[in-house]
Each structure stands twice: as structure tokens, then as C-alpha cells.
């Protein structure tokens, strides 16, 4: 009642005041609200009788007011949301732009106040998105839709909503699928891409929408869908990187709080920064969310690739060259990634493989991407032959030959059988070329075949290691898959054995210490020097160990029936050193192992078959591999799963002798973002107090005179010492720098 009395005092003259009062005490102001609701209704009717043109300012104010307080009187305002939606849907093309904006805002407000569900909002806005002619409205709706979807998926995925929206989008794309003129799917593509990029959607349904889009007849929709498959994952990573950039500078924030005026706001800001930092730290340790690339989530890639090929690359298709190239890239990528067989692709590619073709490197990339070891060699052979004939011959430019050779290498890396020995030997002749690019490309080819099939190379090209290895190498044959190996596994095994031994030795020493008090124990550090001593130490360790566990002295792996697979734990192996030892290697065996490493390598390491490798094991494995320089030795392994980089085919680009301006521009480009060369002396990059050096330099001469005098009076020995010290110091500083 107190509120009512106050209302008597306050004369209600404007909507914001009433809104404020209603917010505080809805039941008391019901009557006023009803009056305003009727006012709104009459205004709406007036407005509906003439919706065009006029900005309807008062009406817009009323709509804003209603959408703010409508949640207080749900019984009176049932029709309000549908009113707004209807107004927007029916008249969005003739409404004044400000009012239109207001209507969309009000709908969003109603959604935020949970008056209407997300689906209603989206169902209202989607049709407008595709039909409106106003760019401003489209951008507003687009951002509204994306932010709504993001916020409703922020904590947990709202599967129901996602499903609804995805169905709508799918329908939108599918509706215009066979109509080359309809661009309705464009918005679906844009929206899906955005949401995928932000990891709001990352399921197969999303990919299905894009799949449908890439099979659309409209070239714009089609290329949107294809670009999604080709580039969205990279975009996603970039997005994440850019998200990381907005890191908080906690030091700066703290400093500013110390200096600036101390307000509650500043305090809150600091707290917020701390919270953000904490969250980030927490997130750092979190496992990365499982994410598959869009290409991996495809359902029925074979069917998709075939449909793409037959629909867009058939003869009577009016796509431009760029669009065709996009389709080709996606098809070849799919073929390579999933090892599909689309045999028409190769003969289609064949006609584009001439040096005069525009964007020929892209076609070479497609050739390479589309080849894998399950493609019949007789299909790929013409391609390699054509490239060799067209690109790699006497009269062509060096760049062309480089591209050709690199292209052949990329194809052969994925499908080595596409090459025959005579052609290979012809091509390797180019290793003596004077052009660096050609020479490097030819060498790359040689390097590749040294690894996969050295017998196809000329004898002198094989190299020592490959030639020695040839005896126990099987001949390449089509359709045979090598069993997988984990690279560097033998390194891990070896390391494990060493660790075990070390631990055992240490333990043995401790026990020995406990057993015979009289001493004469070799420290591990001492034993390094002498072999015999080392042996003794080992023996001692082994003997004591044998005392503990006599039953497994033989060098066999003791396989129990129930616990044959043991989860290894490389961080904590203390229990391993107990009596329940699985692998015991005799000293003789140990020696054998060290002696015949070469032979041992051929056999498959047993570690992978007996134990499940833990993440810690893999980390150690990676470390060991880098230690052994394996990565560097092998180069980056080419697999059929990766996309081919066009730069790899172009080879090293030589800068031609262009005009002076171009050269100068190139020079300047190189200097961009680098510090100026030259002495840093006397240039402070950070404000600081005077250094000791500066002080010494500026010291009054008369104050240093006596010291200088002292220098002259030095004896010879003293001088020698000082000079020696100086030389020493110089050396040290040089080594440091």
C-alpha cells in the first residue's frame, strides 16, 4: 500500500518511470499496465493501418516498454510476442528501419527473459534472413542468431535446439539444391561455418548440411560448402590463437591499481583479471576437446566424392575454372584421405596437365592429393608419364621442370608404383641440372625411391645405406599393406631396459651396504671409468638381485595367463623392481643385445605386443626420437592424409631480375618489423638509472687521477697478472656472447 501512496504523489508522465515502478512492484501497477497495454494495442492498430514509411517513434517506445515489463504479467500479454513476430514477418520490407531494429531487439529481449523459447525466435528470424533486402537487417539478424546459438550452447550443448536449427538449415539448403538461381542456402552455409569455427557445432549433422551445400547447383552455395571442407579447420585453429591473444596482463593491472585512484571498479577489474588468469591456468591442464576435422566426420565419403565428381565436373557444366578447381581439390582430398577410388578423376585431370594451363600447380596438387597406394598403378602411370613428357624435357623453363619433378615426387610418395624404372632413371638425370630448383627436385625423387624402392634407381644413386638394405627388402607390389610400426619403439625398449638396470644396480648397492658393513663398495660414478670395475658392479647387483628372485633367471618373458597385459608406468617403476619381475635379461643376453643391435632391429619389438603404452611412454618416445635425430634424418613423412602444399610443388622461387624498384621493395619487405642494425650503445630501450659504466665514464678526472697513477707504478708481476686476468675475462665474455 505504501507504494500506491507514492504513486499518488508521483505523477506518471512517461514510460520509463512507469517501467521502473512496475519492475519494483508489479501487482500494484497492474491497472496502469493494463491502460498502457490498451494504448499499445490501439497504437498497433493505427500503425498496422499504415505501416510504410513513418518511423512510429511512439510505437517503438511502447514496444520497448512492453517487452521490458511483459514478463511481469504473463497472463495479460500472451499475444504480445506473436504480435511482434507477425508484424516483423509480414511487413519487414516496408517498416522504417529504426522500428525494424527495435522489433528484433525486443524479440531478443523476450528471448533473454525466457518469455519465448529460442526456437520461436529463430523460426521468426530465419525466414526474414533469407528474404529481406535490407543489408542492415540481415547483419543484425545474423549476429542475433549466432549469438543466441552460442549463448544457449555455452555451458552444455543444447542438442534439442541444435537439432531444430540444423534441420531448418538443412531444409533451406536442400530446397535450393537443384535450382541454380536460388541463393537461399548461402545463409545456411555462412551460419554453419561460423558456428563450426567457434566450436558450437562439431557433429556429423553439421557436416551433412555442408555436404548438401557442396552438391548444390548454385555455384555460390556450392563453393561456400566446398571452401568449408577445405579450409575451416585451419580457420578454427586461427580463431583459437586469436582468442588466446586477449590475455590479461596481470602485472600491468596490479601496477595500475597501485598507482591510480582506488575505486571499487578498479578492484573489481583486478579480481576479474585474476579470475580469468586462474581459469586459463586451469584450462591449460585440461585435455583438449576431442575434435575431428569436417572431412573425417563425413558419412559415406565415397558416395560424396562420386556425387561431387559427376555433378560438378561433368561435361555440360557451366562452372568457371576457379570453381572447377575448388571441386577438384575437394574430390582429390577426399580420395586421398579416405583412400577412395574415383577412377574418372585421373583421366579428367590428364587433360589439364600442360604447362600452358592456368593454375597448373593447383592441378598438380590435385593429382598428388588424389593418389594413394590403393589406386591401380595403370591409372596413375599415364599421369606421371604425361607430367614427365610435358613438364620435364629439354626445352622447357627451369620453373616448369621443377614443378613437374616435384609433382611427380608428390604423386610417387603416395603411390610409389606409379613409376617405372626407366622413367625414374631418366628423371634422376636432372640431379645434375644447373638450376637449383630442378636439381633439388630430382634429388628429392632420388631420396624418395631410396626409401621405397632402391632397386629402381641406378646403382650410383642408391646410396650406401639403401644398397645395404636392399637384400632384406621385399619388392613393392600393388595391394599389399605394410603392418604398422611405432617408430622408435626399439629406442623406448632399450631405454626401459637401461632404466631397469640402473635401478636394480642402485638397489643392489643399498642392500649390499646393509648386508656387509665392511665397505669396499663402488660408487656408480667411480665405476664409469673402468670396464672391469663396471662389470664387477653389475655382477654384484645381479647376484644380489638373484638372491631375491631366483625363479626367473632365464631371459624369457614370463607370461601369466591372466595378467599378460600390464599397464606400464614409466614414472613410477618402484613396484617393477620387486620380486614380480616380468622381463629378466641375463648378462650374456645383454651383451648379445648390445653387440647385435643391427640384427635385432629387424625384428618387431615385443614391447608393443606385451604392454599397453601409456601417454607418458609416448612422450618419452617422442623425446628419445628427437634425441636420436630420427625426425631430422627421415624428413617429414609424406602420407596420403595430408593436403599437398602448392609451395612444395613450385619449389624454391628465384627472384627474377626485375627493375630496381621491385628489388628495392623486396629489400624493404625483408626489413619490415626487424630492428635496425648497429650499435645499441647509448640507446636506452627502457628507462633505467645510470649504469656503473656510465658513472665511471663521467667521473671527475681528478678523482680518478690517483688510481691512474697507481697503474703506472705497478710492478712487472702485477702488470702480468692484470693482463692475464684481462685476457681470461675477454675469453669468457666472448664465449658468453
Amino acid at each position: 500500500m505504501a507504494k500506491r501512496k507514492r504513486a499518488g504523489l508521483v505523477k506518471l508522465t512517461n514510460l520509463p518511470m512507469l517501467q521502473n515502478l512496475i519492475r519494483r512492484d508489479p501487482p500494484s501497477y497492474r491497472e496502469e499496465f493494463v491502460l498502457q497495454y490498451r494504448h499499445y494495442e490501439s497504437q498497433r492498430d493505427i500503425f498496422m493501418s499504415q505501416p510504410e514509411g513513418n518511423s512510429g517513434e511512439t510505437f517503438a517506445d511502447l514496444v520497448g516498454f512492453m517487452s521490458q515489463v511483459t514478463s511481469c504479467y504473463p497472463d495479460l500479454t500472451e499475444n504480445f510476442p506473436s504480435d511482434l513476430a507477425g508484424l516483423l514477418l509480414k511487413h519487414h520490407n516496408v517498416l522504417h528501419h529504426e522500428l525494424r531494429e527495435k522489433l528484433v531487439q525486443s524479440l531478443v529481449l523476450l528471448r533473454n527473459k525466457d518469455v519465448i523459447p529460442s526456437t520461436t525466435l529463430l523460426q521468426t528470424l530465419f525466414p526474414i534472413l533469407t528474404t529481406t533486402t535490407s543489408k542492415a537487417l540481415r547483419t543484425q539478424i545474423y549476429s542475433t542468431v549466432t549469438s543466441d546459438l552460442r549463448s544457449s550452447n555455452a555451458k552444455i550443448k543444447n542438442h534439442k535446439l541444435n537439432k531444430t536449427v540444423q534441420t531448418v538449415l538443412f531444409g533451406l539448403v536442400e530446397a535450393g539444391k537443384d535450382d541454380a538461381g536460388s541463393t537461399a542456402g548461402l545463409w545456411a552455409v555462412k551460419l554453419t561455418r561460423e558456428l563450426w569455427k567457434r566450436r558450437v557445432w562439431d557433429d556429423a549433422r553439421t557436416v551433412e548440411i555442408m555436404k548438401e551445400a557442396s552438391l548444390c547447383a548454385n555455384p555460390k552455395v556450392m563453393s561456400g560448402g566446398i571452401r568449408f571442407f577445405l579450409g575451416v579447420d585451419q580457420e578454427m585453429e586461427e580463431q583459437e590463437d586469436s582468442d588466446d591473444d586477449e590475455a590479461v596482463d596481470i602485472g600491468r593491472a596490479k601496477h595500475q591499481v597501485g598507482i591510480n585512484k582506488k575505486t571499487n571498479k578498479k578492484k573489481r577489474q583486478l579480481e576479474k583479471a585474476y579470475a580469468l588468469l586462474k581459469k586459463k591456468e586451469k584450462n591449460k591442464n585440461k585435455p583438449h576437446p576431442l575434435n575431428f576435422s569436417a572431412l573425417h566426420l563425413l558419412h559415406d565419403p565415397q558416395g560424396f566424392a562420386e556425387a561431387l565428381f559427376s555433378k560438378h565436373l561433368s561435361r555440360n557444366n557451366k562452372l568457371t575454372m576457379e570453381q572447377k578447381l575448388l571441386v577438384l581439390q575437394l574430390v582429390s582430398r577426399l580420395v586421398g584421405l579416405h583412400k577412395l577410388s574415383v577412377l574418372g578423376l585421373y583421366s579428367y585431370l590428364l587433360k589439364f596437365l600442360t604447362p600452358r594451363q592456368r593454375d597448373v600447380t593447383q592441378f598438380l596438387v590435385c593429382c598428388a592429393q588424389g593418389s594413394h597406394d590403393l589406386v591401380p598403378p595403370d591409372v596413375l602411370e599415364p599421369i606421371v608419364k604425361k607430367i614427365a613428357d610435358e613438364f620435364v624435357s629439354e626445352g622447357v623453363a627451369a620453373e616448369v621442370a621443377t614443378a613437374g619433378l616435384n609433382g611427380i615426387r608428390e604423386v610417387c610418395a603416395r603411390a610409389p608404383l606409379a613409376m617405372n624404372a626407366t622413367l625414374l632413371q631418366d628423371l634422376t638425370e636432372y640431379k645434375g641440372s644447373k638450376d637449383k630448383g630442378v636439381m633439388m627436385a630430382a634429388r628429392g625423387l632420388i631420396g624418395l625411391y631410396r626409401e621405397v624402392a632402391p632397386e629402381m634407381l641406378k646403382k650410383k644413386d642408391r646410396g650406401k645405406a639403401a644398397a645395404m638394405d636392399m637384400k632384406n627388402r621385399e619388392v613393392l607390389r600393388f595391394g599389399i599393406e605394410k603392418e604398422g610400426v611405432i617408430e622408435g619403439l626399439e629406442l623406448l625398449e632399450q631405454w626401459k631396459a637401461e632404466q631397469k638396470q640402473l635401478k636394480k644396480a642402485a638397489k643392489g648397492e643399498i642392500e649390499a651396504k646393509g648386508a656387509d658393513e665392511e665397505g669396499e663398495l663402488e660408487e656408480p660414478g667411480d665405476s664409469e671409468g673402468d670396464d672391469s670395475e663396471d662389470d664387477d658392479a653389475n655382477w654384484a647387483g645381479w647376484e644380489i638381485e638373484e638372491d631375491d628372485s631366483e625363479e626367473d633367471e632365464i631371459g624369457w618373458i614370463n607370461v601369466a595367463s591372466d595378467d599378460e597385459i600390464e599397464i606400464s608406468d614409466s614414472e613410477d617403476e618402484s613396484e617393477d623392481s620387486g620380486p614380480r619381475k616380468k622381463t629378466k635379461v641375463d648378462d650374456e643376453d645383454e651383451k648379445d643385445l648390445l653387440g647385435e643391435v643391427g640384427v635385432e632391429e629387424k625384428q618387431l619389438p615385443t614391447l608393443a605386443t606385451t604392454k599397453i603404452l601409456t601417454p607418458a611412454d609416448f612422450a618419452k618416445l617422442a623425446e628419445l626420437r628427437t634425441e636420436a635425430g630420427l625426425e631430422r634424418l627421415m624428413g617429414k613423412k609424406i602420407t596420403n592424409e595430408d593436403a599437398v602444399d602448392a609451395d612444395a610443388i613450385k619449389g624454391p622461387q628465384k627472384r627474377g631480375k626485375s627493375d630496381k624498384e621491385a628489388r628495392l621493395a623486396a629489400v624493404m619487405e625483408g626489413r619490415e618489423g626487424r630492428e635496425k642494425y648497429g650499435s645499441k650503445k647509448g640507446k636506452r630501450d627502457k628507462t633505467h638509472s645510470t649504469t656503473n659504466k656510465e658513472k665511471a665514464r663521467k667521473k671527475n678526472f681528478l678523482m680518478t687521477k690517483s688510481k691512474a697513477k697507481g697503474k703506472q707504478k705497478r710492478s712487472l708481476v702485477e702488470k702480468q697478472r692484470v693482463l692475464r686476468a684481462h685476457v681470461e675475462k675477454q675469453k669468457k665474455s666472448k664465449r658468453k656472447g
Binding site: 514510460l15 491497472e31 498502457q36 490501439s42 493505427i46 509480414k90
Partner: protein
């Protein structure tokens, strides 16, 4: 060369400033050319009268456009211009030719530019508008009743109390202009509910039961009296017995006194606009029927209006009206007397409604 003093003086004469004297004509310049001429007749090829006297049509459109001007004085002045000139201009031309031909503003354009001023924040503009409307001829106004009523309803529910206070004056004008036609197409309920709101009887909630217990606000007599007068008029017009009702004609007679068939009234073209609005033929689907129930027909004639008040959707309004008026009557004074008169009319309707 030129060494003599005379020569020197002559040379310097050109650069000396001529002395001007009051009352004497300025000496003509050396290169003066006489351009005057004599002619027997003067003809002007194009004569612009625009600057001196723009056409009345132009002035009307100009002033109509000024009605949306941001300054209240300008609006008021435009209104007063229209008030002084428009009725006279209309009265000259209207009977024979439509306004569109005579280049005068048509009734619909007049209405659409004048009506928004009912909601004008400035009191003087509203007063001026009212006098203008009173001066306008009522010829085609009936066709626009619905639209006018929309604006009046909007004014009656306006948040500013001044506009609400003035709104009933416009209703009064409309009643005088189009009579019973005001109550067609839902006007009856709108008028009564609006007046209820203006009087502060809390009838605004319509049919909900809780509204009738709300105590009427203490009203200023100056504000409430005109409202009561308009309410009385509304009831009088709305519930007045039709003159020369056809009910008195005997069933046996086939002919009316004027020679037409007895059921002629039922079969002739409807005289009202929008007769079949309750069927919702031209509305969007879904707005007509809610949950399968057809919208209740708005009261169109006297009997249905009484039914609306007594047993229909307007019962709540009726209740709050009787309650509020009863309290006013008890309060006594001039206001009490006016309320008593209205109450009498309502009770008569109640009795009749119960009898029906």
C-alpha cells in the same frame, strides 16, 4: 619633356580624388554611356505571381505538411490557418465535385494528417484541432469513423493525463459528427472502457472480476465533469430508441406506408461500412478464431449493445461503471448529480436488458 608646370598638373589630375558636394549631382564619368530608351509599349514575357500570392491549394498542402513540425507554435498556427480558410473552401466546392478534382485536400488525407494531433503533447494544439474539426463539414467523415475512433482510444489510454482529459472532447465531437455510427465495429466497448479508464473507475481490466473492487480515485471535478457529460451522451446515443421503428408495422401488412416491402430493411444493401468484419474474411488466418472459437460479434445495434452490457463481454465494464458512479453520487455535489443522471440511464438499460 613635360617640364612645364602646366603639363605636370594635367598629368596628376587623373589621380586626384574628385570632391563631392552635398546637393549636387555627381559628375558623369568620362566613359559614361547613355542606355535609356523610349518605347510605346512594355511587354513582360513571364510573370511570377508565386512570391506574392501562392495558390490556396498549395497553401493547404503546405500547412498540412507543417502539422508534423517539431515546434508546437508552428503546428498551432498551421491549424489556425486551416481553420480559417479550409471550411470556406470546402463549402464552396464540395457539393458538386470531389476534392481530388478541385485540388483541395481530400477527406482521407485531411483525416490522416489531422488525427495524429489528437495525441499531441501541446494542449493549445489540441484545443485548436478541436475547433478546426468542429468547423469541418461532416460529409464523408462516417467512412473514417473506425480510424478516428482508434486515435481517440489511443488518446484515452495515453499515459499523459492531459491528453486523456482532452480525449473525451474529441469523442464528443465524433458523436456529434457521425452519431450512432461510432459504435459499429467494436466502438461501443472501446468507448465505454476508455471512459471508464478516464474516470478512473478501474474498468480497464474489462471482464476480470478483481477490477470491480478497486476504489475509484479521487477525481478533480473539473476533469471528471466533462467525462461524465460525454459518458451520458454516449449512453444516450447508444441506447436511444430508434425513431419510427419498423417493429410497429403490423405483420399482416405487406407494404409499408412508403410503398416498399415490409422486410425491405433486412434485404437492402447495408448502410454501414464493414458489416461483416466479425466474420474476419480479410484477416489473417489464426487471428480470427482462437482455439477454434469464432470471435464474439461486436454489438452493432441497440439491442445487441444492451445485451453486450448486461450479459456479454461488457459486463465487467457495466459493473465498474455502476459501482464508480454510485460512489460519485454518494459524494454529492455537482459531480454527484451528473453521476446520478448517468446512473439512471444505465439502470434503465439494465432493466430493459433483464426484460429482454
Amino acid at each position: 619633356m613635360g617640364a612645364s608646370a602646366k603639363r605636370k598638373r594635367e598629368k596628376q589630375k587623373d589621380f586626384r580624388k574628385p570632391k563631392l558636394k552635398v546637393g549636387k549631382a555627381k559628375a558623369k564619368a568620362d566613359n559614361f554611356t547613355n542606355t535609356s530608351f523610349k518605347s510605346k509599349a512594355i511587354t513582360l514575357a513571364a510573370q511570377s505571381l508565386h512570391t506574392t500570392a501562392p495558390s490556396p491549394t498549395y497553401l493547404f498542402t503546405h500547412h498540412l505538411s507543417l502539422l508534423t513540425h517539431h515546434s508546437a507554435t508552428t503546428r498551432k498556427e498551421s491549424l489556425s490557418y486551416l481553420k480559417t480558410h479550409l471550411p470556406a473552401a470546402l463549402s464552396i466546392t464540395t457539393p458538386t465535385t470531389p476534392n481530388a478534382i478541385s485540388n483541395l485536400p481530400t477527406t482521407s488525407s485531411l483525416i490522416s494528417s489531422l488525427l495524429p494531433l489528437i495525441l499531441d503533447p501541446s494542449a493549445s494544439v489540441r484545443a485548436q484541432l478541436l475547433t478546426l474539426l468542429a468547423h469541418l463539414p461532416h460529409t464523408h467523415l462516417v467512412l473514417h469513423t473506425r480510424k478516428i475512433l482508434l486515435f481517440i482510444n489511443s488518446a484515452m489510454t495515453h499515459i499523459s493525463s492531459d491528453i486523456r482529459a482532452d480525449s473525451t472532447k474529441f469523442l464528443d465531437w465524433l458523436l456529434r459528427a457521425s452519431g450512432e455510427e461510432v459504435f459499429s465495429a467494436g466502438g461501443w466497448g472501446v468507448c465505454l472502457r476508455g471512459l471508464c479508464g478516464c474516470l478512473g473507475f478501474g474498468g480497464a481490466t474489462g471482464g476480470s472480476g478483481g477490477s470491480s473492487v478497486i476504489v475509484p480515485k479521487v477525481q478533480d471535478g473539473r476533469v471528471a465533469l466533462p467525462h461524465l457529460a460525454v459518458l451520458a451522451k454516449v449512453l444516450e446515443v447508444g441506447l436511444a430508441k430508434p425513431v419510427g421503428g419498423e417493429g410497429e408495422v403490423g405483420m399482416g401488412d405487406k407494404r409499408r406506408p412508403d410503398g416498399l416491402h415490409v422486410s425491405y430493411e433486412a434485404h437492402k444493401l447495408p448502410s454501414r461500412s464493414n458489416v461483416y468484419v466479425s466474420l474476419g474474411l480479410f484477416d489473417t488466418l489464426g487471428s480470427v478464431s482462437k482455439e477454434g472459437v469464432l470471435r464474439e460479434a461486436e454489438p452493432e445495434d441497440r439491442d445487441s449493445r444492451i445485451r453486450y452490457l448486461i450479459g456479454g463481454a461488457g459486463r465487467g465494464v457495466f459493473d465498474s461503471l455502476t459501482l464508480g458512479l454510485g460512489r460519485l453520487k454518494k459524494g454529492g455535489g455537482e459531480m454527484g448529480r451528473a453521476a446520478g443522471k448517468v446512473l439512471v440511464a444505465l439502470e434503465a438499460a439494465d432493466r430493459e436488458g433483464v426484460a429482454v
